[in-house]
């Protein structure tokens, strides 16, 4: 047991984070987590808008004008990116579970595809929302 503890103490530590290279699949995975947290935080706001929109006619119109305000639109845009990225990355993970695209080369390519698609959806929605 004592030997084991000594061994743990001797273990080398690599604290220079710049020496760690992030492959695209790792960037995508971190994005998946970050997007997930963002989606989690935004749940209460959507419950609020949902209940406002279903309360009555005026509430519905109120919800509509609220969603059309510039600040909320900006939030919606970030939310849409998070949802798109989380959705696509999730599908990629499901396919990986089925051993589809599991080879290293393809896994990197699909990771890039997920990141790119997320940004393309973001761009399309920003055009639709702001013009």
């Amino acid at each position: 047991m004592n030997d084991f503890k000594k061994q743990i103490k001797k273990r080398p530590k690599n604290l220079n984070l710049l020496s760690v290279k992030f492959p695209m699949s790792a960037v995508m995975s971190v994005g998946h987590r970050a997007a997930g947290v963002l989606l989690f935080i935004s749940i209460p706001y959507f419950i609020y808008v949902f209940q406002l929109s279903l309360s009555d006619e005026t509430g519905f119109l109120q919800a509509k004008t609220e969603l059309n305000s510039p600040l909320v639109k900006l939030f919606l845009l970030i939310f849409i990116w998070a949802l798109a990225h989380h959705f696509l990355a999730g599908i990629r993970f499901l396919l990986l579970d089925l051993d589809i695209g599991i080879e290293k080369k393809w896994a990197q390519k699909t990771a890039v595809l997920v990141i790119a698609s997320g940004f393309i959806i973001f761009l399309i929605c920003s055009v639709v929302l702001f013009y």
């Binding site: 989606l39 419950i47 949902f50 959705f87």
Partner: protein, 115 residues
Amino acid sequence: MSYQAKGLQAWFFQRVTGVFMAFYMVYVLWFSLSTELFTYQIWLAWFSHPLMNMATALFFIQLVVHTWVGMRDIVLDYMPGDILRFITLTCISLFLMALSIGMLRILFSLSFNIL
């Protein structure tokens, strides 16, 4: 289920809820894009339909399970210390339960209406 299989259970839940929510969201997107202009009547009728009302309630329950597994993973990965973890996880679970109650209250307040 044995203790060793608990991780498998979480992994499995994450996938099942993810697939259900994916189908729900594709349907919602399709319906929203194919509706020219949302009026209050259409909006209310949509969520008052028993199937949509139920599907939305199911969606939210799945969302809460999915969020719980995901946030738990993140807290266990990045948060040091048992006490800090315990407090954070308790707060997240209470928060998610409160959100579920709020959401189900809204859905249950709509009386079923088939077209």
